[in-house]
Symmetry: C2
Subunit: 173 residues, 2 copies
């Protein structure tokens, strides 16, 4: 199973692609941070992010996309940009016909470190070890996206199955 993880952000959006099966070590395929200039018009920033995500999806052909779930409790100054970037990522995946799973930061941290309250350094260290990288991913923001992708591989796309079953049930009512 190949998964593309997205840690949404308007100025810096982490993207990481890994391949693997539940319970086994994952193989890193690619990672990068899509950046945009805060001085630029919002429409151009969203368009650039959308375009790059579509390119990465076409290039790496993932089976599914995992996106960090954004909460309104986050820093109010950045939450709008994060929500907007998240919407672009979810839409890019849906447009490509891919299933999308959303995970909270604690779910991701728990999946890769065993603790839902792990700090950024712990997550980065575990991602580096789990993917047998020689050094921590650079730019650093890519580590969270790789962690999301690993989390989704290990969950074995369970969420999609649950969501699909629920939807089937609701449609059938």
């Amino acid at each position: 199973m190949r998964v593309l993880g997205v840690d949404p952000g308007l100025t810096r959006c982490g993207v990481g692609v890994v391949e693997g099966v539940p319970g086994r070590q994952c193989t890193p395929i690619a990672y990068e941070v899509v950046q945009s200039d805060p001085d630029e018009e919002l429409a151009h920033r969203l368009l650039r992010l959308d375009g790059r995500l579509a390119e990465l999806i076409a290039l790496h052909q993932p089976d599914g996309v995992a996106v960090e779930r954004v909460f309104s409790q986050h820093n109010v100054r950045t939450v709008m940009g994060t929500a907007q970037a998240g919407a672009v990522a979810i839409l890019a995946a849906a447009r490509a016909g891919l299933p999308v799973a959303l995970y909270t930061p604690s779910e991701v941290k728990a999946a890769v470190t065993g603790s839902g309250t792990a700090d950024k350094a712990q997550v980065t260290a575990m991602v580096t070890r789990l993917l047998r990288l020689d050094a921590p991913p650079r730019p650093a923001d890519a580590a969270d996206a790789l962690a999301l992708a690993i989390c989704h591989v290990w969950r074995g796309g369970t969420r999609d199955k649950v969501a699909a079953a629920l939807q089937q049930y609701r449609r059938g009512r």
Copy 2:
């Protein structure tokens, strides 16, 4: 000048198209509310909204799109959906190569009622009068989208010119 206005919302997204020139009465072209089921998967909701907005843009061929600017001070329970729907609207316009202008609710209220603190009933009453409609727009949520479109026509796309000039300046540095 033909403008498509969007009052973003995930469950109910108002869309209104008007035609006119600054300082003159505007002609209503179309309006509707794009709805989605809160029980449905977020990816499907965003995809449906994106698809319908792309259809409406292709159908009505606006010269520009005006979207309500979302603030994080809004109701925290709905702000995420509003931000996500807003991002989809801005992206749909940008993908179609159209300039996008963002207006705060007070700017729109001031433009159509003369007061930045006008209530929803006043905005609806003025939109009905300004567009010479026989009755207030139904569904009611479409009134705000029509107000946004009127506001942008009356501003004569000034924002785009300012934004374009600024961008030209920044690129030239």
